[in-house]
Symmetry: C2
Subunit: 137 residues, 2 copies
């Protein structure tokens, strides 16, 4: 299940991308327009900023803006920041690998085999999708 954090984050990024070129976008504006609790959205955009996807400007006329072109912001990066590992199981994660404590041999593990396939297919989608794709129409 996709967390609300990720869902809200993606919607907010899309909203900002659609306004690109203009001045920074206020959290309150996004929250209202996308029906997202403002305080919650604040914390989400903060993590996106800390991860380098967004930039921010404080004070009056402040807000958030994209650090790169929408076409250069890949879903792999956004998803890893917001949702964490793309793999469904740590033992097949590329960026967050962890051995299963119950599993003596990954080579022989049926779950491992299956989840590698799922991971590869999901990765393909996220690698080939950018914020520009989400924002069009």
């Amino acid at each position: 299940m996709l967390s609300k954090k990720t869902k809200y984050g993606l919607k907010a990024l899309t909203y900002i991308a659609r306004k690109e070129g203009e001045s920074p976008v206020r959290v309150s504006e996004i929250a209202e327009s996308e029906n997202i609790p403002q305080k919650f959205l604040e914390s989400i955009l903060l993590t996106l900023r800390k991860s380098g996807v967004l930039g921010s400007k404080k004070g009056k006329h402040g807000g958030y803006y994209l650090r790169h072109e929408p076409s250069e912001i890949k879903m792999t990066d956004v998803m890893r920041v917001l949702e964490g590992p793309i793999a469904m199981v740590p033992c097949v994660s590329l960026n967050f690998y962890e051995k299963c404590d119950d599993c003596p041999d990954e080579e022989k593990c049926s779950v491992n085999k299956l989840m590698i396939q799922v991971r590869d297919n999901t990765l393909q989608v996220f690698r080939n999708t950018t914020l520009a794709d989400l924002s069009s129409i």
Copy 2:
């Protein structure tokens, strides 16, 4: 993230499939061999039985057995029983559809578009994989 329930369930099914033809397999045997808490596994196999994937026999020499050939047990079915919806978001779920309360128009929702792609790719894997595939090797 894949729940332990699903992980354990898949491992147990694989274990049973590899023994097919023999008599029912005891929970305690699976639990020990696969490092799964026995009581937890009991409840998992119970739901698999209630959903029609497994059959069971009580009492001495009892245990669980597959109701169909491994090659006829599709991952779509098993995953839906153990993990629930395959889609990451209810608004793109085929079997568990639910409208988002915050989203006025699914057609224009960027998250919706993206998650449909992920769902379709994941579905393709699960539709083309059977328990026989998991059990081989």
